[in-house]
Structure formats: C-alpha cells, structure tokens
Symmetry: C2
Subunit: 191 residues, 2 copies
C-alpha cells in the first residue's frame, strides 16, 4: 500500500519550460509548462517560497503550570487579528535552528536555552515548493525588547497549554501552521 520512489514514476510530470512572473518578496510567482507520462500538458502556477520556521515557546510557571508564548497580530490575508506561535521565513544561508532562535528573539524578546526540531510539513504541495519546520523552544529567558520587521506590529502574550489545546481551530487560533505546530509539540516528549 505504501508508495516509494520509482514505483510511481508513471505519475510524474516533466517540465518543458518555466517563467518567473513576479517577485513578491515573501514568494515568487512562476508559471511552468509540464507534460505528464500520458501526454497531458498544461501550464501550472507555482509559488516559490523560502522555508518557514515555527517556534513553540514553552514557559514553565513557578506553580507548575505550562504556558505558550504567542503573538497577536493583524493578518493581511484574512484581515483579522490572530494569535499564533512566532514564525517567519528562513533566510538564505541561515541554518534552521538559527532561524528559529532569531524569529523567537525578534518577535518576543525571549532567548531559548534549548531548541529542538519536532516536525516538518509541506504547507501546500499543490503549488508551493517549501517546508514549514517546527521547533520547540524551552528554558526561555527574557532578553530584550522585540526587534520587528519594518511592517510588523505584534503583541506578545502567554496562553495556558490546555486553553490552546481546547481552542485550536477556533476564533483567533485559526492558523493552520500553529495547529500543526501544536500537534508536533503534543506528540514530542516535552523536556
């Protein structure tokens, strides 16, 4: 039942040509002409995007509870405010762990004493080329103020783990990558 490499060659499509249509900062729009093994052919629109990084920052409370550090911001795609895990783009030449450390620090002002990758997923295999990697960040220390990108305005807040577990997929907790990051965290063995 499982699929592996060469067995599925008959499903592959060969690229005849492709053209960059527009560079849009966080992705490039490209159009590719492709032909299937059965001779079907068509143009396909694709987004070339850098990999994304998601960070699950875990705060242990003195009383024994656990909270996530999250960010509240206006999201331009849906034109609403969401609450999500800190996240961003992996920069060219940047190691994944370095990107996780940087995004956490920039968006929240916290440093992680430990970082571990807990999963990765393809945000959209149909038309996006990238991965989204998730890191758990533990032993957090408040370090400095936020250091946001020019067009970012976001607020930091903490959310009790049980609140996110029960609320995920509702209200402000609607981001699919935050949903998946939470699942990776729950599956991983917390420190």
């Amino acid at each position: 039942m499982l699929v592996s490499g060469g067995m599925d060659d008959h499903l592959g499509w060969r690229e005849e040509k492709s053209e960059l249509i527009r560079s849009c900062g966080i992705f490039n729009l490209r159009r590719a002409r492709r032909v299937s093994g059965r001779g079907r052919q068509g143009w396909f629109y694709l987004l070339e995007a850098p990999d994304w990084i998601n960070v699950v920052p875990v705060l242990k409370e003195a009383e024994g509870g656990t909270r996530f550090l999250m960010v509240k911001q206006f999201r331009h795609g849906i034109r609403e405010v969401t609450v999500e895990f800190p996240a961003g783009l992996v920069q060219e030449g940047e190691a994944l762990e370095e990107a996780a450390r940087r995004e956490l620090l920039e968006e929240t002002g916290y440093r992680a004493g430990s970082l571990r990758m807990i999963g990765r997923i393809r945000p959209n295999p149909a038309f996006m080329s990238n991965w989204c990697y998730t890191y758990a960040a533990e032993r957090l220390e408040r370090n400095e103020e936020q250091n946001l990108d020019e067009l970012e305005e976001l607020e930091v807040l903490t959310v009790p783990v049980p609140e996110l577990v029960s609320g995920i997929g509702t209200g402000v907790y609607c981001n699919s990558m935050t949903f998946i990051a939470l699942q990776w965290y729950l599956r991983s063995a917390p420190e």
Copy 2:
C-alpha cells in the same frame, strides 16, 4: 488573555487601494496598499483563493478494521508524489457539503451515505483569504469511475487508520491539510 473583536482595533490596518496583478486559475494575485494605526504603510501581496474542501472518507472493513480512502498523485509545487485525502476547490455558488460530495465522487468514484463537517482552518492567514473545510464521509458506496479534471491524474488507494496516524508528517503523507484533516477526524466522534 483571550482576544476578541474591538479590543484589538489598534492592531488593524486600513486598505488605501489594491490592484489585481494576475488571475492564476486556482487563485488571484493581488497587491494592496495598507496603513497601520501607528502610521506604518506598505504594499502587501495577497492570494485571493476560493475556499478549499478536504474529505476524510472512512471505509469499515468486514473484519472490523477501518481504512481511509486516499489519493496518490504528482504534486506540482513540490514535484513529488504524495498520498492525501481527496480535496479541491469549492466552486462559486456551491454549498460546502455539495463540494465535498462532488470531490469525493470525482476523485475516487465513491458516494458518501453521510457527510459531516468536522472542522475548518485558515491555510495561511498571512497572505491567503480562504478557509479549508474538512468533512468526514462515511457509509461509502462504490458508484462509478473517477471523473477527473483535465489536468488531474491520480490513483485511489486505502490506508489503515493506524498507518496514517503513525506516518502522518513523514514520506508521502506530507500535506499539511491532510495532517489537519486527520486531527479533526481523530477529535470527532466517529459514526
């Protein structure tokens, strides 16, 4: 800690203007000029996309086991073959349940005796406008052959529930929307 409506007005951005850059079939690329409450302003690239529908088709075996009906296909974004739940775009004027029924039938040739919505998520609040809805499809009946879109070539297979649960996020099971659809299904009370 929870965020609701008006409390977060200060995080909002106002749109000054926007322009359609390109219609790409499965989405439109748009650029919008927006200004924040604090006076920051910039151009934002956005994808306007129709809502997506994901279907979790559940097959009960005579021996008591449960399998998912899934589809194997070449995915143009990542240029690899994946195994995913049947999925597609909600057409204009189409009810969500109707879209779920149609995609299941077109991609697998099965009809659902019952359909129930088990969750919805924002695939990408940062630059996409749409929702992805997930339906569980039960009491399946083999009806007819696949009826695919012109540029679709896909194969139907069945995957035991425990195999997908342990394999999700690895190998061919890398699609984020399939990951989330599985979580909705596991959280819902199966029929």
